[in-house]
């Protein structure tokens, strides 16, 4: 009996002792570096930033950087570079753009645009904008679209575009646009923004808002199709805008707008989830999921943006596309013409970034953060 008692006391004691020393001190999460390509110290494009969105509420928006001059991929650089920022980069990184010497990261649920130094990745400041979505630049100003212009007003369902000065980082002007605006592009002195209306299905928005940059007012709306999302400009004064449809009976489609007349000039009967325009070519993919088969149908297409015709070429030619579960981001290196495609998998697992040669063969792939989706090339 005595032995049993002693044994039990000893056991309990050891347990408590072992346990009491098992919380480690917190440390900022370090970056993970891997070598992907041969270093090219004379590269024109020095590298690119890849923004990983992170699943909502997880606060796992993260930034990766591929340095072409060293050939090394740095995964998750923000925490190591800016460990003093409370709770890090934030929740749901939705867009990224580089303008001048700075990187602008739109972090949607954290209601901010993070401004970093392009060379070092160190944070400069943040601009608070509620429910911000996409960013674009022109003439020393930064333009950010936001789902709601005012939050908390039942009579204010519309979104807005904010204009921010790049030296003071203050919001200088604001214009009300359609409901839940998404991506923007600037052609000439006009800013075009795609309105989705995604908060009120099935009453989606159908228009692209056209804003006169000089007066910063909404000049007109171009009627396109429901639930507009991506919007990219080519160098010929045309805008490519995608409609997501209603996910059920109305299919997704691609439209081309002529900015000289501000009207829709062409309509493509296939859906496009995302695209990247480089020079005369648009690189596109479409992702659709079928409940019936439980499989996704992904298609990759190329388009000639000079005459708006589909090119009979593929940018993935070695069968790697079968490994990509959920394509989420696409970009093309403006100098080498390599194509970058990301796979977001199931949104709660680290993604993969693939790099394809101009002839469509896989050159390398690397593990990224959660939901890799947005690129910005740094010169």
């Amino acid at each position: 009996m005595k032995n049993t008692k002693i044994t039990i006391y000893l056991f309990a004691g050891c347990l408590l002792l072992a346990i009491s020393s098992c919380r480690k001190d917190e440390k900022p999460i370090p970056e993970v570096v891997s070598t992907l390509t041969t270093p090219d110290p004379t590269a024109t494009v020095k590298g690119f930033y890849l923004l990983n969105e992170g699943n909502m509420n997880s606060n796992k928006a993260s930034l990766d950087y591929l340095d072409y001059t060293t050939g090394q991929y740095h995964k998750n650089i923000y925490n190591q570079l800016n460990p003093e920022i409370t709770k890090g980069l934030g929740d749901v990184g939705n867009d990224i753009g580089i303008y001048g010497s700075k990187v602008y990261v739109v972090v949607n649920v954290s209601n901010k645009v993070e401004v970093l130094d392009k060379k070092s990745g160190k944070r400069i400041t943040q601009i608070n904008i509620a429910n911000c979505r996409y960013v674009t630049f022109h003439n020393g100003k930064v333009y950010v679209s936001a789902y709601l212009g005012t939050v908390g007003d039942p009579k204010a369902p519309n979104g807005a575009v904010d204009e921010i000065d790049t030296t003071s980082f203050a919001i200088t002007r604001k214009v009300t646009v359609g409901r839940q605006p998404e991506e923007m592009a600037i052609v000439g002195e006009k800013l075009y923004v795609a309105n989705s209306g995604g908060y009120s299905p099935p009453n989606y928005e159908r228009t692209v808002s056209v804003i006169d940059l000089a007066s910063f007012t909404e000049m007109k709306r171009i009627d396109v199709a429901i639930n507009l999302d991506r919007l990219k400009a080519d160098k010929y004064g045309d805008i490519y805008v995608t409609s997501r449809g209603d996910y059920y009976t109305i299919p997704s489609k691609l439209f081309v707008i002529d900015t000289n007349t501000d009207t829709v000039k062409k309509e493509f009967d296939f859906g496009v989830s995302n695209l990247w325009i480089d020079d005369d070519t648009a690189y596109m993919y479409s992702y659709e999921f079928s409940y019936i088969t439980g499989k996704n149908i992904t298609t990759y297409t190329m388009l000639n943006v000079k005459d708006e015709t589909v090119i009979n070429s593929k940018f993935i030619t070695d069968g790697t596309e079968t490994q990509i579960k959920v394509p989420y981001g696409i970009a093309v290196n403006p100098v080498t013409k390599e194509v970058l495609v990301t796979d977001a998998k199931d949104y709660v697992t680290p993604g993969t970034l693939y790099c394809f040669s101009p002839s469509g063969k896989k050159e390398w792939s690397v593990t990224t953060g959660d939901i890799p989706g947005h690129f910005a090339f740094a010169y």
């Binding site: 509420n57 460990p83 989420y328």
Partner: protein, 667 residues
């Protein structure tokens, strides 16, 4: 059955000096009762954990969720604060595989399949039992066989020591601005019938400090929008009729208004979402033994559930986002048992349930909102054999479900047959060693949200299946003359397989999720529970309980997955708890400790998803006094003594050190 504490008897004989013999007699009685209470832990063919009576009262717990944390094999998902959602997951099967029974009848939620255990206050709960597999009796409603594990909550039973009336009024106050008055009253209407009434109000502002650090930044802030105002009323009638049949009827109303604090993310600590809930039900049970061979049990329930969710951060064409849902449930059960002979029983049970979901106003899913009607029919055939040292139960559950909808696609008909086998064996005569084990195949149906919620629901979902295998060993010993007067131990090893796990994957378009049967999980686990009672010098009675859980729960969905064969989210490999209670005279001192090992908050076991182990120490003191004919109790509790800052769920911080005081009086 009531646990007599040494303190009680002291108080009643306060004027007499207790002799050593009396103390010892009291202690022995305590040990005997303890032993008797614990015996079902050891003899039950399915593993069961029990918190009951005084032991339950002494825990630093406000709600059932707080108390269940001390059980082995349980992971709790706690979103923080008094009003925060708290659900449990037993043996890594998943939250939807655990059924909650309140006085024998299931308390469910057909919309999301989750029961918020934070809603059940311990004020009027007398006993909490957690069964793995199923309750080891064949004479129960078919519902009792239909889940992977079951929690039985039993309301306090009366003890009319003298007089017709038995009541308690109590008041709790403490951190988070908690104010919690409650009343509990039982009245003997006649020799055979008594009535019960209980009511309580909870008010808390829900504010507490929380802290986040990464070693470089170190922020402390206050959790806002975590307030709660809730009211509960219950009334019941229990009785025995002339033909020795028994009946129980209960009415229940719960109403709450709470803030929903959001995840703490960079640059956004506050939220303004709110939720209102109202739940009312009426349930009745009837038991009759017609003759020594045949017995009948009837159960019925009708319940309404109203949920109202408000999110001022989303504005749509109607205004600010506002959802209102109504659920209705009707349930009826017939259970029969027949003694074929003294060692062989058979039972047959049939349950019918009808669930509907409606939304009068709905912004989140108004478009293409489906109003389902689910008719469920459960039938069980079971048999049990019991000899001196061996008993076994086998059951076959047939589940027949039909969903119909007003629009779009219905899930339609489903039909499943699932068996269970439970065994318990005492290999050596006169030795308290027992070996037990079970096999059970069971599933959980997709919820209404899984099937029909706009953009996310998938009407083609199949049930999610779980196979469980368990082998265990129990032992207990009483040595009333020793200091270690009583101890018992239960050890169980188990292997669970979950397939067709219902998970959310990227859906019709890249901005949405969709539910799909995709996951496969293999779980290997070990649970060790031990209880002991010590009779220390100076008339101190010490009760201890320790539990340890080992879980190896691996995702084995697809060998090409990044996280193939890695631990599934929020499942620690090691976890455990320790409960110590010492009593002497009018004083009772409590200490409890919970440990949850390191785990990952997402599928990939990588540093970005790593969560530190957390452990909390709780302590409390209770003083009991008599005044006139009233028993007065004063309790002071401190939780999380070491003020550890931790998250159970990523970005939902838990409170640091917090306090609670209670004063109660019987009348």
């Amino acid at each position: 059955m009531q646990i007599l504490c040494a303190g009680n008897l002291y108080a009643q004989s306060a004027t007499n000096k207790a002799t050593t013999d009396t103390v010892k007699k009291v202690a022995l009685k305590e040990v005997a009762i303890h032993a008797e209470r614990l015996s079902s832990r050891n003899t039950s063919a399915s593993p069961v954990q029990i918190l009951k009576g005084a032991e339950l009262e002494k825990l630093n717990s406000l709600s059932v969720a707080d108390a269940i944390r001390f059980f082995s094999g349980v992971q709790i998902k706690d979103y923080g604060g008094v009003g925060g959602l708290k659900t449990i997951n037993v043996r890594s099967l998943g939250t939807n595989h655990t059924a909650v029974f309140y006085d024998g009848i299931e308390f469910g939620n057909s919309q999301n399949g989750q029961v918020d255990l934070g809603k059940f206050s311990l004020d009027n709960i007398g006993e909490i039992d957690l069964y793995s597999a199923q309750k080891s009796t064949i004479f129960q409603p078919a519902k009792g066989f239909s889940a992977g594990s079951s929690i039985y909550l039993t309301a306090k039973m009366p003890s009319f020591d003298d007089g017709r009336s038995n009541g308690k009024v109590s008041f709790k106050a403490g951190s988070f601005g908690l104010l919690n008055p409650s009343i509990f009253w039982q009245y003997k209407l006649s020799d055979k019938i008594y009535s019960t009434f209980s009511s309580e109000i909870i008010h808390a502002d829900g504010r507490y400090k929380f802290r986040y650090t990464n070693g470089v930044y170190d922020t402390t802030a206050v959790r806002h929008n975590g307030d709660i105002d809730a009211q509960r009323i219950e009334a019941g009638l229990n009785g025995k009729l002339k033909d020795t049949s028994t009946f129980a009827v209960k009415g229940y109303l719960y109403n709450s208004n709470r803030g929903l604090p959001a995840a703490i993310v960079n640059n956004k600590f506050d939220s303004k979402q709110r939720e209102w809930d109202r739940n009312e039900f009426v349930q009745a049970s009837y038991n009759k033994a017609f003759n020594p061979r045949y017995s009948l049990q009837l159960n019925a329930k009708y319940s309404d559930d109203y949920t109202h969710y408000f999110d001022p951060e989303i504005t749509n064409l109607r205004g600010l986002l506002d959802d209102k849902y109504y659920e209705h449930e009707f349930y009826f059960s017939v259970a029969n048992r027949y003694h074929i002979n003294h060692w062989w029983d058979v039972a047959a049970s049939a349950d019918y349930q009808r669930n509907t979901l409606d939304a009068l106003q709905n912004d989140t899913a108004q478009y293409r909102f489906v109003r389902p009607v689910r008719n469920t029919f459960l039938a069980v055939l079971a048999t049990s054999v019991h000899f001196d040292r061996f008993n076994a139960q086998a059951s076959l559950l047939g589940t027949f479900v039909n969903d119909t909808v007003d629009t779009l696609v219905a899930a339609g008909k489903k039909k499943e047959y699932t068996p269970a086998l439970l065994l318990s064996w005492q290999p050596i005569e006169n030795s308290p060693v027992r070996i037990r084990g079970f096999y059970k195949s069971i599933f959980r149906l997709p919820t209404f949200n899984d099937l029909y919620f706009t953009f996310i629901g998938n009407a083609l979902l199949r049930p999610e299946f779980a196979k469980q295998y368990d082998l265990g060993f129990t032992y207990s010993k009483s040595h009333p003359d020793n200091v270690l007067a009583f101890y018992a131990v239960q050890i169980d090893g188990y292997y669970n397989q979950v397939r067709d796990k219902i998970v959310a994957i990227p859906g019709q378009n890249l901005d949405r999720w969709t539910m799909y049967n995709l996951g496969k999980v293999h779980i290997k686990g070990l649970e060790v529970n031990a209880q002991a009672t010590w009779l220390l010098p100076a008339s101190i009675v010490l009760n201890t309980g320790i539990s340890y859980t080992y879980q190896n729960a691996k995702d084995v969905t697809d060998v090409t997955d990044f996280n193939y064969n890695q631990q599934i989210p929020y499942t620690p490999v090691n976890s455990g708890s320790l409960l110590v209670n010492a009593e002497r005279g009018r004083f009772s001192v409590n200490y409890s400790f919970i440990y949850t090992g390191e785990r990952y908050n997402e599928k990939a076991n990588i540093p970005e998803n790593y969560m530190q182990p957390w452990y909390t120490h709780d302590a409390g003191v209770t003083y009991t006094a008599n005044w006139d004919k009233h028993k007065i109790k004063l309790t002071g509790e401190v939780s999380n003594l070491a003020n550890q800052r931790y998250d159970v769920i990523l970005n939902f911080p838990m409170p640091g050190r917090n306090y609670r005081f209670t004063i109660s009086s019987t009348f």
